[in-house]
Amino acid sequence: MSLRLTKGGRLIDRSKPLGFRFNGQPMHGFAGDTLASALLGAGQAMVGRSFKYHRPRGIVASGVEEPNALLGLGTGARFEPDQRATTTELFEGATTTSQNHWPSLKFDVGAINDKLYRLFPAGFYYKTFMFPRFAWKHVFEPIVRQSAGLGEVPKDADVDRYEQAYGYCDVLVAGGGVAGLAAALEAGRKGQRVIVLEQTPHWGGRAMVDGGQIDGHDAADWVAAALAELKAMANVSLRNRTMVSGVFDHGYVIGYQRVGDAEPGSDKPRHRLWRIRAGQIVVASGAIERPISFAGNDLPGVMLAGAVRDYIMNWAVAPGQRLVVVTNNDDAYRTALAALDAGLEVAGVVDAREAASGPLIDAVKARGVRVYEGHGIAKVKGRAEVTGVELCRQAGEGTVVMELACDAVAMSGGWSPAVHLWSHCGGKLFWDEAAVMFRPDHARPPTGADGEAMARIVGAADGKLRLCEIMEEFGLGAVADEESAIEPVWLMPARAPDALRFKAFLDYQNDVKVSDVQLAAREGYESVEHTKRYTTLGMATDQGKLSNINGLAILSDALGRPIPATGTTTFRPPYTPISFGAITGEARGELFQPLRRTPIQGWHAARGAHWEPVGQWRRPYCYPRSGEAHGDAVKREILTTREKVGMLDASTLGKIVVKGPDAGRFLDMLYTNLMSTLPVGKCRYGLMCNENGFLMDDGVVVRLSEDSWLCHTTSGGADRIHGWMEDWLQCEWWDWKVYTANLTEQFAQVAVVGPKARAVLEKLGGMDVSKEALPFMTYVEGELGGFRARVFRISFSGELSYEIAVPTSEGLAFWEAVAEAGAEFGITPYGTEALHVMRAEKGFIMIGDETDGTVIPQDLGLGWAISKKKEDYLGKRAQQRSYMTDPDRWKLVGLETLDGSVLPDGVYAVDAGHNANGQRNVQGRVTSTYFSPTLGKGIAMGLVRRGPDRMGEVLDFPGDNGAIHKARIVDPCFYDKEGEKANV
């Protein structure tokens, strides 16, 4: 039973009470409380149930290491599971719920597991649940899944906002305790750009609670003065509530700032993710106290000694009225003193050391508290709360020598430096036998690109637990109490029997006990990584902050090897969990990815375009009229275009200008065709292959002038192809004089297509677009209808066709001018589907349809586009390999069903028999298939083994539900084979 003390509490403001709810029950705390201190202050010791045994669990810690106090917070679209109560600031109206129990926190059916604990040791599930086979999926696993998992699943989409920001500094200080502040002062005074990040709302770290003197002042006063000086420096920025989440290569640091967490519904972003590039990182992240392993060390009311001190002094909360302190070091005596100062009773200090002395111990004894030297706790008594402890000799097997009545236990197994950030990017550790801790090895720091240390580690994180040690590094004198040496205590009592070891918890949240680690060792899971994974030690939401060192000490002992031979598991980011919202930032919903718009986008939208995503563009698939089905719209668009005239927004087409004295030579390497000989003003259809010879992009190349070419690419390929060009220019042919510029967004492009296309352009006027002046596959630049325009005579539909590029700013006006001029000819806008069908009717290939990364141009009957005159081009050598020249390769053909129906998309042509792996043999497949409104029947393109040699053969294509589609191999060009329509 805990309660709020009437005096003290340096962080709370008693004039500002705050109401909140826990499991529906109204409670109150004060401004400055955490959820944890408020719950303790309201007398709520039990806050949740453990993962596996559903044991009652209370608050253990006061900071990021807390494994138990995870709550559901908020409601509806602001509900969040697994909220750590010790690091969440209390706010008015906070709604909290405990987790992992049914039907209630007090009475939990799952607690039956605790009674049956012996049946559920580490890894029991690897040995069971195997029979009958189906039972794992249908019976056992659903039970496991339902009883595991902690928090409830949010029901609604998050309504809060998140931000991301960048920072740059010479020195980034992670941690705003005295060591961090001293390091910041040092750098700040030198004029370096400094960023200091502190995860809590408060500065000064443990020194604010533990006291001592720095530079002749009380620690708290020194902190205040240091903060004042730092705040006055323009080159220093201080950010509290901001945790360093991870340290990455090259001084890249991710910071996690909790901005509006305590003000739900305000206009502030909830979290802000900082991406900081730091010249040097100073790790000043402090240390984390270790629990001690004794039976019942997980009962609500058993807490870390440092946390007990924090709750008393920071928040004026007493975790109990009558405390027992259990320790292997002097620091815990500070807790006894703090408790006595707060008017609480200390029933005794149980010190596992046989003989320890020093001013702290003397001070406690002087207050009349008995110190039980050489003793340990055999067992904590109580069911859901502490009622007392049984004492035993630490060196023995747990024979109870006496009982102490108490309602809280403060334990300290010593402190472990928080070396996580040092280790994220490769900093190494060493085991300090005397100090009983893993410490950073300064000789093996994380290194930057220059091979020099990119991080420095200071303060308690460096294993310096006493104020005078910490400040010495900064040339500051400090005074702290003398302390006698810590002694390692990994198990209490040292020879605890099974019955005690099965109740001595290492990982509270995951219910890993001393006995589990010993079982893992016995079964051969000897690597610390094996033990971790077998027992789940350290895999809970605290990531082993409390349990790892104790666990690996138990493991080492079980294996009879020294602790450094066992080593630690890998420290991975984030330091504590960070929200997916923060990682996502503003890139959600409409801003998820940039939406690229052509200047004509609005016009399409106003005409009710049905959209198709193409890369980051959205293109009209078709323009259905009111009540018109998509398929009918496509059909209408095609027929109108073929019979009269259509217009297409082709602005998304890639447009890359390649320029320079070596541009021709470069394009000759890039394309299979010869581009250097293309006369100025002419267009040529080009193919691009990768090094393996596979066709990767196509498009019309236009020679604009003596030294510049315009390369059209596919809509989806523009950025990739531009990157591809630059890759070759920058990495391989860096001495070639070539520049490339991706002008895709600088030009709008409109295709005017159909028998009346020329008439439309003539009506626009201003340019001679006759066959003589502008023959097929040529281009001219000039004025068309008052617009500056590049006009290309190219066709992807088989019709008379012009593609006109105008500056993007004039794109919409030009489009509207075309629409107006075309009105009298019955012009229609058409979408991507009509484009696809018309090209298929002509037998033109489409990258991504006829190609899939395994197809070479020779497969597609495009041998004519491969220059025989060139010595080399990308993919040439690859195309000469034996498999590429195999006559059995699948090659492009047209396919027609016998009944005129449309072949399903993606079906395969089967062959007789099965291969050695029992798979049905196949001999071809459909690559594109459409209903052709022009021909009034289904048409398809496909790749078939030796296809062009097999014209007229009928193949079987198994479809859905056992249907076999029969289709005849035909020429892939279904429409205007002689090409007369385009060339008029």
């Binding site: 690897y126 902690l150 989409a157 960070i578 993606g906 198994p958």
Partner: protein
């Protein structure tokens, strides 16, 4: 050599004596002077190779040599997805062999690897993807693999937390493999290790290979940090470091190595039963039995051995998943890690003889290693035992790079997983 069988009764019996009677899952022997076969690499693939060498081919004088701890490479770092909905015949064959072995693996190994055929979805969010997946369904049906094309409404029924309506990339349907799913990755390595050990094979951990001994173009043994060990055949199964080991034997491999990342959320109650892959936006997610959402990212754009990976991948993939599953925004990332994957030019594996006689190599599984473990081990064991590839491995030889006979899956799955 036997091992005590695991069962619910055995656990109950042991419970009475505080589990004091369990024996080692695998022994920890010193190396002998000579083995018929040495497998280098005690990851899933290496252990499975050894296991099937013994079980199928009766070759039991086998050592599995491991530099670190068994299962500590990519076997213990992946996102545990199992599927066989591949497009090309050779891939489909070996991944389906693996998937079908996974079905019975717990019973075969007497170790619960928790294979959970919870179903796997690949979302189609563009016309291009839709067509690609429909093609895959037709291919799979001819390959004897059960997959189907399902509607957006069926997707929503299977995964209620999935936003099928965009706004940017509405779900057009999905490629669904009902018998795809997940398994417990560590357990796969441990179960195989236990099975190997029970057959009398030696698993030697903390033993790094420092050299490969050959005589007259044939392998005769290896040098290790625990001394020289002779062998008649050598199987290299060391994803992430294949090139390094091959160099010791004097040949080069067409492999690049780079970091691939994964991360998990804090545990929550069951939210998603099915494995969902959203390849267009580069994200995939499932939920572990422990309750964590398991998420995989992309490979780094440059070669490295850091086992860390670049942060921007985390942002890119998390964004994709928050977009796909809007309720996860307020959940938190618990842990992020990386592994080193071997990448070949066609992103398909190598199971092959090598220029050195009696050295065989198994590598290049890229981002698809875990799901293939049993099939890979099966095919590799056959290759090592017979000296020639069987039908499963036949197409995966090194020769294919010389011939241009690639097995390219990029059309079917544009994203790492």
């Amino acid at each position: 050599m036997g091992m005590r069988r695991y069962s619910m009764f055995a656990v109950a019996r042991e419970a009475l004596r505080f589990h004091a009677g369990w024996e080692r899952a695998w022994k920890s022997p010193e190396p002998k002077s000579h083995y018929d076969v040495i497998v280098v690499g005690a990851g899933g693939h290496g252990l499975a190779t050894a296991y099937y060498l013994g079980k199928v081919h009766g070759i039991r004088n086998v050592a599995v040599i491991e530099k670190g701890w068994l299962g500590g490479g990519n076997t213990g770092r992946n996102t545990t997805i199992i599927r066989s909905n591949y497009l090309q015949d050779p891939s489909a064959a070996i991944y389906e062999k693996a998937r079908s072995l996974y079905e019975d693996l717990s019973q075969d190994l007497n170790y619960n690897v928790m294979f959970s055929p919870r179903g796997l979805l690949m979302l189609a969010q563009s016309e291009h993807e839709r067509r690609g997946y429909q093609r895959t369904v037709y291919a799979n049906n001819l390959q004897g693999i059960e997959t189907e094309w399902i509607t957006p409404q069926k997707v929503k029924e299977l995964v209620p937390i999935l936003n099928i309506e965009g706004p940017r990339y509405p779900v057009l349907g999905a490629l669904y493999q009902e018998r795809g799913g997940t398994a417990r990755h560590d357990a796969v390595a441990w179960g195989y290790a236990r099975g190997c050990s029970a057959m009398g094979m030696d698993i030697i951990q903390q033993c790094e290979v420092t050299g490969v001994r050959t005589e007259g173009g044939k392998v005769v043994g290896i040098d290790t940090t625990k001394g020289a060990i002779g062998c008649s055949k050598l199987a290299m199964v060391v994803a992430g470091h294949s090139s390094v080991l091959a160099e010791m034997a004097g040949f080069r491999l067409p492999i690049e190595s780079m970091a691939l990342q994964a991360w998990v959320s804090e545990p929550i109650k069951p939210a998603i039963d099915v494995v969902v892959m959203a390849n267009l936006v580069h994200g995939y997610m499932s939920q572990s039995d422990k309750g964590e959402l398991v998420i995989g990212g992309g490979t780094d754009g440059f070669n490295n051995y850091t086992q860390r990976g670049s942060w921007h991948h985390v942002e890119e993939t998390t964004r994709a998943l928050v977009e796909t599953f809007p309720i996860i925004s307020r959940l938190k990332m618990l842990r992020q890690w990386g592994g080193i994957v071997d990448m070949t030019g066609d992103r398909s594996p190598i199971l092959s003889k090598t220029p050195v006689e009696n050295i065989f190599v198994n590598c290049g599984w890229g981002t698809g290693g875990f799901k293939s473990i049993p099939g890979s081990g099966w095919a590799m064991a056959e290759l090592v035992a017979k000296g020639e590839p069987g039908p499963l491995a036949a197409e995966f030889g090194l020769i294919r790079f010389r011939e241009g006979r690639f097995i390219d899956e990029s059309v079917a799955a544009g994203v790492a997983h």
